[in-house]
Amino acid sequence: MESLSETQWDVLIEGTGLRQSLLALALSRSGKKILHVDQNGYYGDAEAAFSLQEADEWVEQVKGDSPTGTFRNASLWKPDEEASKEERKLSFSRAYTLTLSPQIIYTRSQLLTQLVSSKVYRQLEFQAVGNWWIYTLPEAEAVSESDQKAILKRLPNGREDIFEDESIENRAKRSLMKFLKFVVNYEEHPEIWQPHAESSLSDFLASQFQLSPYLQTLIAALTLSLDKPEETSVGYALPRIERHLTSIGVFGPGFGAVLPKWGGGAEISQVACRAGAVGGGSYVLGTGIKTVQEKGEDQPIEVELSNGETVKTKYLARGSESKDDTTPSPRALSKIIAVVSSPFASLFESSVEGSPLAAVSVVVFPPNTLTTDTIPHTHPVYIMVHSSETGECPAGQCVLYATTLYSPTSKALLDAALQALLNSAKDIGDAKLLYTLSYEQQGPASHPSLDLAFNDQVLEDVAQEWDAIMGEGVDPATFMQFEDRPGMNDDDNEGLASAN
């Protein structure tokens, strides 16, 4: 190994999670000498993606309880080898890319704008997040308690869809249209919502727009809020509903969000790190930071790495988790990554002409739709269904990413949601679970990593750190604005075909 200590580094970046990788990308044309390290032997940190074998190793690391780590209580389940039929088995380890960062990216996110302006979008393949489904009892049908059977219903995709939806009666449709018209311009009408900013979304929809509980549920689903609807505030919800509605159609009909193939955020962080390397950055994995000594102003910071080397750097960009923080994180999520033996084709069928084939569908289970005697269902459950088009699993299978707020029964609730999805998707026959990886993820309550959609706050953090590193006189307008790299030579090669 070459020595890292001989170089006087300008910037040392700790961790290759999405935020730090985007920082490396932002600095990739700065001419600064950059050392980018990660204590893990893989890229992505809390946004990594794994083969089955890598997932096994990860579970070993985070299987215990941990009050302050990002992940805890990971466990694996696979059916008995003997019991599973040949055609419905897990494939080989590398056939899977299970991601810790399946966050959907709304088409109006600045992340996409910046991936384009920084030119790294060329190394990414974006796929559409198509249908949204809600697990519900149709409002119009009056059914006695005992016969209640929830079904998967596709959320209306725009106004025409709402008009054609026969399960919504006409007066309710008018109320709904009135709300939708308001919400896409909510910022221009503070008088309508600001007095209610701290109130619950459900109350607001009922009192100001006379929406029925069923329509309140549909609207709440669009927020991707992990809180109870009655605890989801208007001030939180409206921007998210607006973002959802105004994102549809930006890059084509029928979808409002995208996801990079091969593991979403994990792929972005790898591509961003390569851009950092192309710009001259040095990459070392399996190497963390042990101690940091600040020698005072104008003196380089001395950093002892876990491989025993001590390096000097002018600026140190720490990872997301402060290692000294011993206060338990205030919010925890329960998550399951599951592989199923069905392509779930009906979930991805397009209802809009000209829309690309979606690779991701969102299924929402509103509170109380999964309640049993032993499992209370108080918080919404979300399942992101990824088809094999995402490259995350072999053809004929799907990867399901289920999330809900952590509680002592949240894992059982996620299991129930997975089972309900398997039972209700009509085309799957006797689809089986082939693999489940359950874990908990924790962090500060409003932290972007706990959001189900990419949160642009990450970009503001990156821009701020970039600004601090670049120092006075840097033009903020140049952030992530790069020309194509040279190398696109148009030289024609004389045809030097080998014979035959």
Partner: protein, 203 residues
């Protein structure tokens, strides 16, 4: 140019240990330049584009260099995505660089898509008479064990520099299923209008 954009594109990667001359080979092949002074890791080269005709059909080669990420063996999985071919380069005057090839083959075989073509290259043939430490037969034997093509080249003297590229493209285009496997599907979302000047397509 515009017409080049429409040519079938082949993605070919260069891998191998630091100092084997991957970038030198790439730059000699694409630009016919060689800088004997430049021994430092490559900066600023993302990929090179070269047009190549085989059997009368023109292809657009996208040739990717490791960007120094081979130094600490930190090439990412994403580097290998969609690659039709991988050229593995060692230095015939450096025994450890040859010994490292087994691990590079392993990395290529696990990360590249199934059926991708591998090709082994012994670089710095110009040193053959003065400081060769890896015999031609050893390289040939290693390539045979991995079922791939092999040749020795010199980026410095131009000897054989076109051969690895022509040979690997020739093998790739004989496997139509390989070209099909990597072609973008109807599900791909374009963030930028194909004819656009780089501006994001926001409505």
């Amino acid at each position: 140019m515009a017409s080049d954009e429409s040519l079938p594109a082949l993605k070919i990667l260069m891998i191998g240990p630091s100092g084997a001359g991957k970038s030198a080979l790439l730059i000699r092949y694409c630009d016919d330049q060689f800088d004997s002074e430049s021994s430092t890791a490559t900066i600023g080269v993302d990929f090179k584009v070269k047009k190549l005709s085989v059997h009368g059909t023109a292809y657009r080669l996208n040739l990717l260099d490791t960007a120094g990420q081979e130094r600490f063996r930190t090439l990412s999985n994403s580097y290998y995505r969609g690659a039709h071919g991988v050229i593995l380069v060692y230095d015939i005057s450096n025994r450890p660089s040859f010994q490292a090839m087994e691990r590079w083959f392993e990395e290529a075989e696990t990360n590249a898509m199934p059926g991708a073509i591998l090709y082994l290259v012994g670089n710095k043939m110009d040193k053959a008479s003065s400081s060769r430490v890896v015999r031609y037969e050893e390289g040939e034997e290693l390539a045979r064990r991995h079922g791939c093509g092999f040749c020795e080249v010199s980026a410095k003297t131009r000897d054989n520099v076109k051969k690895p590229f022509v040979d690997i493209v020739d093998q790739i285009v004989r496997k139509p299923e390989l070209l099909k496997a990597s072609s973008r599907r109807s599900g791909t979302v374009a963030l930028v209008e194909p004819e656009g000047t780089g501006s994001i397509c926001a409505c």
